[in-house]
């Protein structure tokens, strides 16, 4: 009986661990709504790098990070990399205001449940900001890369 319980616990444990995205995993198909209420699949599948950035309007470090992402987007254009911001804001209006204030032109979607949001749980997001870089084939190649690291991949 004890052995069975151990086995069940072991399986449950591996399930919890595997719920987080690892290097080498494929980008999941998740459809979230953008600021115009249009559903967008984060797996854009168009032979470009994809950078997913988890953030929230109330997160100071994220807002600073947005400035850098806007610059990255302007410098490289949408030719090489798709930047997708996933906001965990629970207040949509604050999110939309932040997008305007930070002059974000790249794709923005929202999963409005804070750290309990399904997408955050799937990616294993434990702090904001969190970044995930996928290569042209949609395979995760870096978690929380620095700007320099991202540029190296793109050049």
């Amino acid at each position: 009986m004890r052995a069975i319980i151990y086995i069940i616990l072991l399986i449950a444990n591996t399930l919890i661990v595997s719920a987080q995205l690892k290097i080498g995993d494929n980008i999941p198909n998740i459809v979230l709504k953008n600021q115009n209420n249009v559903g967008m699949n984060i797996n854009q599948n168009n032979e470009k790098f994809i950078l997913i950035d988890f953030w929230a309007s109330w997160c100071g470090p994220c807002r600073l990070g947005n400035k850098k992402l806007v610059k990255l987007h302007n410098d490289f254009g949408a030719n090489k990399i798709n930047i997708i911001g996933i906001s965990l804001d629970t207040d949509k209006l604050k999110w939309i205001k932040a997008i305007e204030k930070d002059k974000i032109k790249f794709t923005q979607v929202i999963d409005p449940k804070g750290f309990d949001a399904k997408t955050a749980v799937l990616f294993g997001v434990e702090e904001l900001p969190s970044k995930f870089l996928f290569n042209k084939k949609g395979i995760l190649i870096a978690i929380n890369p620095t700007e320099e690291e991202i540029m190296k991949y793109l050049n």
């Binding site: 470090p61 434990e126 702090e127 904001l128």
Partner: protein, 167 residues
């Protein structure tokens, strides 16, 4: 024999009754956490709170950077459990408020009123804790001077809570 049995039941019920009223403690805790990084940007504190079986739910107030923890009825948790949770997550407590029944506050000698103020309500009261580790380090140093007349304040006895009634 039957009489003894009846007395036994009576005794047990009295004990149960007394112990449940003694356990009817904190119903809500509001904590502002501080640290080197943005405390609300991390899921760590939230996770530590949710680990406690007595915790019913955790909410965050993003305007005041406060964690609001709602507790299940008749829990036996004391404030230091939450302070430890925050510290385990790698942060410190900046402010700490507790909601509990006024009766509980009056009957528990561990809660020491640091300034004589009266509760407005007869039911639940909100108190703020001013002990070391429940306020910022800077605030504590100031308070040590202001409360030098309260002998127990400087002792830092873990079981004692020096409080002010806020609401």
């Amino acid at each position: 024999m039957k009489k003894i049995y009846n007395t036994y039941i009576l005794l047990v019920s009295i004990v149960l009754l007394v112990s449940t009223t003694a356990n009817a403690q904190i119903s809500k805790v509001e904590i502002r956490a501080t640290g080197l990084t943005c405390s609300m940007c991390s899921n760590a504190i939230n996770k530590q709170f949710k680990k406690l079986a007595e915790v019913d739910s955790v909410a965050t107030d993003l305007n005041t950077n406060t964690f609001v923890v709602y507790l299940k009825k008749d829990n036996k948790l004391s404030p230091n459990v939450f302070k430890e949770s925050v510290e385990k997550a790698g942060f410190f407590v900046g402010s700490f408020e507790v909601t509990m029944p006024l009766e509980q506050l009056k009957s528990n000698s561990n809660y020491i009123l640091i300034e004589a103020n009266e509760a407005k309500s007869n039911n639940d009261v909100v108190v703020r804790i001013f002990d070391k580790g429940y306020v910022t380090e800077k605030e504590y140093k100031k308070l040590l001077k202001s409360y030098s007349k309260t002998a127990t304040y400087a002792l830092n006895n873990e079981a004692d809570y020096h409080i002010k009634i806020i609401n």
